[in-house]
C-alpha cells in the first residue's frame, strides 16, 4: 500500500489509539489524530492529508458540522472524508450516504480489513 497520511478525528481516546495503531501496523500509513472537530479542522488545514476518518457523534462539534466546515474550507474541501460512526440505524445510514463523503464505515469495524477498504475507496 502506498504511504498515506490519514487524520483520525474522534472524541473517544481508546478508539483513536487503537485505530491509529491498527492502520499503522496494517498499512504502514502515517496517522494523525484529533479529539474534537475543532482540533481536526485545524489539523486538516495545516497538514497535508490523504484522507480524514471522521467520527460523527462528538461533543461540542459533531462530525457532520465538522464535515461541512471541511467542505467549506478550500484547503480541506478536497480531502476525502470517510465517516467512521457508531450510528448504525438505517435512517442514519441513509442520511450519511447522501453526504458528499467518500465512504461510511460503521463501528465496530473489522480491524483486519479496514486499511485495505480505505485504500480501496481512496483509489
Amino acid at each position: 500500500m502506498t504511504n498515506k497520511r490519514i487524520l483520525i478525528i474522534d472524541d473517544e481516546a481508546d478508539i483513536r489509539e487503537a485505530t491509529k495503531l491498527c492502520l499503522e501496523v496494517a498499512a504502514g500509513w502515517e496517522i494523525l489524530t484529533a479529539s474534537s472537530g475543532i482540533e481536526g479542522l485545524q489539523t486538516a488545514a495545516s497538514e497535508p492529508l490523504d484522507a480524514i476518518l471522521l467520527d460523527v457523534m462528538m461533543p461540542d462539534m459533531d462530525g457532520l458540522t465538522t464535515f461541512e466546515k471541511l467542505q467549506a474550507n478550500p484547503k480541506t474541501q478536497n480531502i476525502p472524508v470517510i465517516l467512521l460512526t457508531a450510528k448504525a440505524q438505517p435512517a442514519e445510514q441513509r442520511q450519511f450516504t447522501q453526504l458528499a463523503v467518500t465512504a461510511v464505515i460503521t463501528k465496530p469495524y473489522d480491524p483486519l480489513t479496514i486499511a485495505s477498504y480505505i485504500a480501496e475507496v481512496l483509489n
Binding site: A86, Q89, P108
Partner: protein
C-alpha cells in the same frame, strides 16, 4: 022481547050442545076455511035457514063470501063471489064495528031489527041485549029481495077491533029470529072471531115460518162456508117474492169491480139508452161483471144517475128504505127507467138497498110483471055506471077479468125482502170480508208459502251458515291458534325486539359513548364523500365543532396528502368508497381549522348495505406524540447503539490487532491494547447493567424493598461507597448526617446517593470538596450533594436527568460514566414518591437535591406488625 031467563032448560041444553059442537069444530082445526065451513054448516043447521055464509071484507072495502052452507034448492050459492064495498054502506059498517050491531031484516015485514052490543057513542057494553025493530031501508029490502032473501041475520065478526067480516044467514022465506038464536049466533061469531084470531095467528106464524124458511134457505145459500151461492139465493128470493126476475147489484167494493147477478126478466135498454149507458159507462169508468146467461155489456141500471137520484129520494121517503113499486105507471120513477122496465114487461119493482151498517153495498131488485085479475062478482058491477048506487036486481055470478094489473107488494113481502136484503147485505159484506179474508188468506198463504220457501231457504241458509260458521269456527280456531302462536311469536319477537332494541339502544349508547369517548377521530362519509357523522374527538382534533363538519366534504377540509378533490382515484378513502377496500394509511397529514397540519394514521372502511357500498367510516388518530415517542425511541436506540458500539469498537479493534499477530513483536502495545480492551469491556458491562437497570426500574420490574431506615445511616453508607473514589480523585468528602426515619428501599436510595456523589467527584477538580447534607422538613427530608465543579448550563439542568444526556461525554466516559446515572437516580426517587432536581452556577459548582417523604406512621406500624 025475550031475556035470557026465558030460555027453557031444553033450549039451554040444545044451545050448549050446539056451542059445544061448534067449539069442538073450531078446536079441531086451526085452518080458517075448515073452521068457517064448519061454522056455517052448524049455524045453518041450528037456524034451519037456507043459506049461511061468512063474508070477509077486503082492505079495499069489497068483500067476498069465503064460507057458505046453502040449501041449494032454496037459494043460490054465493061462495067465492065478491060484493062491492058499496053494498054495505059505511054507516052500516060503522055500526057493525063500533056497536057490534046485529041486524035482522024481515023483508016481508019491511022491518029491520038491530041489536047493538056496545054503546055506539061510548063503546061500553050494553046491559040490555034486546032487538029493536024499525023499518028497513027500502034499498036494503030491495037488495035482499033481488037476492031472493026474505029474512036475513047479520052478525059482525070482529078481529082486532076491526070489522073482519060478517056472519050472514039468509032465508028465502020470511022468518023470525029469536033473541036466543041471535045470542047463539053471536056466540058463534065470537068463537069465529077467536078462531080467526087463532087462524090469523097461525097464518102469520106460517107466513113467518115460511119467510124464515125462505130466509134460512137464502141464508144457507148466502152463508155457505165455501162459496156464496148468490145466484141460487137470488133465484130463491125471486121465487119467494113471486117475481119474474131479480138482480143483485153489488157496488164496486175494495176489489174495484161492481158485480151484477140477474135472474129471470131484466130491464132492457133501448138503443138510445144503451148509447147513453155507454157514455155513462165511459164517463164513469165503472167496472162490473154479470153472472147470468144473458150478459149485459151496458152499465147496469143501478148505475144510472136517474136510478140513483130517484132511489135516493125514494129511500128517504120510502118505508124502511125499501123501494116497493107495484105499478111503474103510477110511480114517480124517471121515464127512462120506467121504459127500461116496461120494455121487458116489468110492471113492478121491489128494490132493497143492501146496507151493512152505514156502508152501501148495492141493491136487491125483484121484478113483477103485470097480472090478470079475475074477480067473481055477485051480479055485474060497473063502478062507472051511475046506476050502481041503486040496488042490484041480479046477483048472477059475473066474472070480471082485469088484465095488465099491477101486483102489489104486500107488507110481509116487503118485510121478507128487507130481511133477505139484510141477509144479502150481511152475506155480501161477509163475502166481501170473506173475499178479503180469502184474499188476505191467499196473500197470507202466499206469504206463508213464501215464508215457508223463505224458511226453507233460511233453513238451507242456516244449514249453510251453520256449516260456514262451523267451518269458520274451525278456521277461527285455527286462526286463533295461529294468532295465539303468532302473538306468542310476536310476543317473543317483541321481547326479542325489545331486548334487541334495548341492546341496540345499549349498543347505540355504547357506540355513542364509544364514539364520544374514543380517542381516535371517527367520521362517516356517504357515497358522495359528504360527512354523515363526526365524533367529538375528530372535531376536537380538527379544531371544528361537530355541526360544522356534518354534511361537508371531509376531503376538502382535511386536505390529506393525496391531492385533488373527492372523488380522487388516488385517495385511499375514495378507493374505499368505490371499491369497498379497507385501506390503512399509517401516516398522513390532516389539516386543522387553523390551517396547521398534524400527522395522522387512519383506516377507511366501507359501509355496506345489502352488498352496496353506501359510505365509509374513517378512523384516524393524531400520531404526533407517537412520532415523538418513536423519534425518542429511535434516538434512544441510536444512542444505545452508539454507546454500545463505541466500547465494542475499541474492544474489537484491540483484540483484532492482538489476534492478527501484528503486535507480537510489540509487547508494550499489545499490553496497551489489552488494557483498552479490558477497560472498554468493563464500560460495556456497566453500560449494559445501567440500561437494564433503568428499564427495569422504569417499568416497575424492580420491586422497591421498602423498610424503615435512618437517613443518617443511608448517608454514611453512600459516603463509604465513594470514599475510595474521592480519595483517588483527591476530592474531600464532607458528610453531615441528619437523623430521620424513612420508609425506603435502602439499597436503591444508597445507589442514588452514590451516583450523585460519584458524579460530583468525577466533575470536581482536585482538592475540591463534595458535601452530602440533609435537611429535615415537615413531610420530607431533602438530601443535597454539592460539588465545586464547573457547573451546569441552565438549559441542561432538566435534560441531564434524561438518558445519555451528558454534558461532556468524553470527560464523563473517561470517568467511567454511562450517561444513565442521573436517569437511574430519577427513576429510583420517583419510585419512592420523591423528587430530584439540580441547581448550578457555572464555574462555582452544582447541587443535586433529593426529596423523600418521611416515614408514614401507618406504614411503620404496618411494617412493625
Amino acid at each position: 022481547m025475550m031475556d035470557r031467563q026465558t030460555i027453557n032448560s031444553s033450549s039451554i041444553d040444545s044451545l050448549e050442545i050446539l056451542l059445544h059442537r061448534m067449539m069442538n069444530r073450531i078446536r079441531q082445526s086451526l085452518e080458517l076455511p075448515t073452521i068457517l065451513n064448519g061454522t056455517v054448516a052448524e049455524v045453518r043447521a041450528f037456524l034451519g035457514t037456507d043459506r049461511v055464509k061468512v063474508y070477509q071484507f077486503h082492505p079495499d072495502g069489497n068483500g067476498k063470501v069465503v064460507a057458505e052452507s046453502v040449501q041449494s034448492q032454496r037459494l043460490p050459492s054465493l061462495l067465492g063471489q065478491n060484493f062491492p064495498a058499496e053494498d054495505i054502506p059505511p054507516a052500516a059498517r060503522e055500526l057493525f064495528l063500533r056497536a057490534r050491531q046485529r041486524s035482522i031484516v024481515n023483508v016481508s015485514l019491511q022491518q029491520i031489527g038491530v041489536s047493538p052490543l056496545d054503546c055506539l057513542e061510548t063503546g061500553e057494553v050494553l046491559d040490555v041485549d034486546d032487538i029493536r025493530f024499525r023499518p028497513v031501508d027500502p034499498c036494503h029490502a030491495e037488495y035482499l029481495t033481488a037476492m031472493g032473501v026474505q029474512s036475513s041475520l047479520v052478525v059482525p065478526i070482529l078481529h082486532r077491533d076491526q070489522l073482519w067480516g060478517l056472519l050472514v044467514s039468509h032465508h028465502a022465506d020470511p022468518r023470525q029470529v029469536t033473541e036466543r038464536e041471535l045470542q047463539v049466533v053471536q056466540l058463534v061469531a065470537d068463537q069465529v072471531s077467536i078462531a080467526i084470531a087463532q087462524s090469523t095467528l097461525l097464518s102469520q106464524t106460517r107466513a113467518q115460518a115460511q119467510q124464515e124458511a125462505t130466509i134460512n134457505r137464502v141464508a144457507t145459500l148466502l152463508h155457505s162456508m165455501t162459496e156464496m151461492k148468490l145466484q141460487q139465493a137470488l133465484e130463491q128470493i125471486v121465487s119467494a117474492l113471486k117475481g119474474i126476475g131479480g138482480r143483485v147489484y153489488i157496488s164496486a167494493q175494495d176489489s174495484g169491480q161492481a158485480q151484477l147477478l140477474t135472474c129471470g126478466m131484466q130491464p132492457v135498454l133501448s138503443e138510445k139508452r144503451k148509447n147513453q149507458s155507454s157514455r155513462q159507462k165511459r164517463t164513469q169508468n165503472s167496472k162490473f161483471k154479470t153472472q147470468n146467461s144473458s150478459t149485459h155489456v151496458a152499465a147496469p141500471v143501478e148505475q144510472y144517475p136517474s136510478w140513483q137520484s130517484c132511489f135516493s129520494e125514494e129511500m128517504q121517503s120510502g118505508e124502511n128504505g125499501v123501494w116497493a113499486i107495484a105499478d111503474l105507471y103510477q110511480s114517480t120513477v124517471p121515464s127512462d127507467l120506467v121504459q127500461a122496465f116496461l120494455d121487458n114487461q116489468i110492471r113492478g119493482v121491489l128494490v132493497v138497498p143492501l146496507r151493512y151498517r152505514q156502508q152501501q153495498l148495492g141493491y136487491l131488485s125483484v121484478f113483477r110483471q103485470a097480472v090478470e085479475v079475475e074477480t067473481l062478482w055477485a051480479g055485474r058491477y060497473d063502478q062507472d055506471d051511475p046506476r050502481h048506487l041503486r040496488p042490484r036486481k041480479s046477483f048472477e055470478t059475473w066474472r070480471e077479468l082485469k088484465q095488465e094489473q099491477a101486483d102489489e107488494w104486500s107488507t110481509s113481502e116487503i118485510e121478507l125482502a128487507q130481511a133477505l136484503g139484510s141477509h144479502l147485505a150481511m152475506a155480501i159484506h161477509q163475502y166481501e170480508l170473506y173475499r178479503q179474508v180469502r184474499a188476505l188468506n191467499a196473500d197470507l198463504e202466499k206469504d206463508i208459502q213464501e215464508r215457508k220457501q223463505a224458511e226453507i231457504k233460511i233453513c238451507a241458509l242456516n244449514a249453510e251458515l251453520e256449516q260456514r260458521v262451523l267451518e269458520r269456527t274451525v278456521e277461527l280456531q285455527r286462526s286463533n291458534e295461529e294468532l295465539v302462536r303468532q302473538i306468542s311469536e310476536r310476543d317473543r319477537a317483541w321481547q326479542e325486539r325489545k331486548q334487541a332494541r334495548a341492546s341496540l339502544e345499549r349498543l347505540s349508547h355504547q357506540n355513542e359513548l364509544i364514539l364520544n369517548s374514543a380517542g381516535e377521530g371517527i367520521y362517516g362519509l356517504d357515497a358522495q364523500g359528504k360527512t354523515t357523522f363526526v365524533n367529538p374527538a375528530a372535531a376536537r382534533m380538527l379544531g371544528y365543532e361537530v355541526e360544522e363538519l356534518t354534511g361537508k366534504s371531509m376531503h376538502e377540509i382535511l386536505a390529506p396528502s393525496q391531492p385533488g378533490e373527492t372523488p380522487n382515484p388516488d385517495n385511499p378513502i375514495y378507493a374505499t368508497l368505490q371499491e369497498g377496500t379497507v385501506n390503512h394509511v399509517a401516516e398522513d397529514l390532516f389539516r386543522r381549522h387553523d390551517q396547521s397540519s398534524f400527522p395522522v394514521e387512519y383506516v377507511s372502511t366501507p359501509i355496506r348495505e345489502a352488498d352496496e357500498i353506501v359510505g365509509a367510516v374513517v378512523i384516524f388518530k393524531d400520531i404526533t406524540e407517537r412520532q415523538i415517542v418513536e423519534q425518542m425511541k429511535d434516538e434512544f436506540i441510536s444512542v444505545v447503539s452508539h454507546e454500545l458500539r463505541t466500547p465494542l469498537t475499541s474492544i474489537r479493534t484491540t483484540l483484532g490487532l492482538l489476534s492478527s499477530g501484528w503486535l507480537n513483536a510489540q509487547p508494550e502495545k499489545s499490553q496497551r491494547m489489552l488494557e483498552i480492551a479490558f477497560s472498554n469491556t468493563n464500560r460495556l458491562v456497566r453500560l449494559i447493567n445501567d440500561i437494564l437497570d433503568i428499564e427495569r426500574i422504569k417499568f416497575g420490574k424492580v420491586t422497591m424493598e421498602k423498610q424503615a431506615c435512618n437517613a443518617a445511616d443511608l448517608m454514611s453508607q453512600a459516603t463509604d461507597v465513594v470514599r475510595a473514589m474521592a480519595d483517588k480523585a483527591e476530592v474531600y468528602l464532607a458528610v453531615m448526617t441528619t437523623e430521620a426515619q424513612l420508609w425506603v428501599d435502602p439499597d436503591r436510595i444508597i445507589q442514588a446517593l452514590t451516583n450523585l456523589l460519584s458524579n460530583a467527584i468525577k466533575f470536581s477538580p482536585t482538592a475540591a470538596t463534595v458535601s452530602l447534607m440533609a435537611e429535615l422538613q415537615t413531610q420530607h427530608i431533602i438530601f443535597e450533594v454539592k460539588d465545586q465543579g464547573r457547573g451546569i448550563p441552565e438549559d441542561k439542568l432538566e435534560t441531564i436527568f434524561d438518558r445519555f444526556q451528558q454534558i461532556d461525554t468524553s470527560n464523563s466516559r473517561s470517568q467511567g460514566g454511562t450517561g444513565l446515572g442521573l436517569a437511574i437516580c430519577r427513576s429510583i426517587v420517583q419510585q419512592h414518591g420523591g423528587k430530584i432536581w439540580a441547581e448550578s452556577k457555572l464555574g462555582k459548582g452544582s447541587s443535586f437535591y433529593v426529596s423523600l417523604p418521611l416515614s408514614h406512621q401507618s406504614e411503620s406500624n404496618q411494617n412493625e406488625a
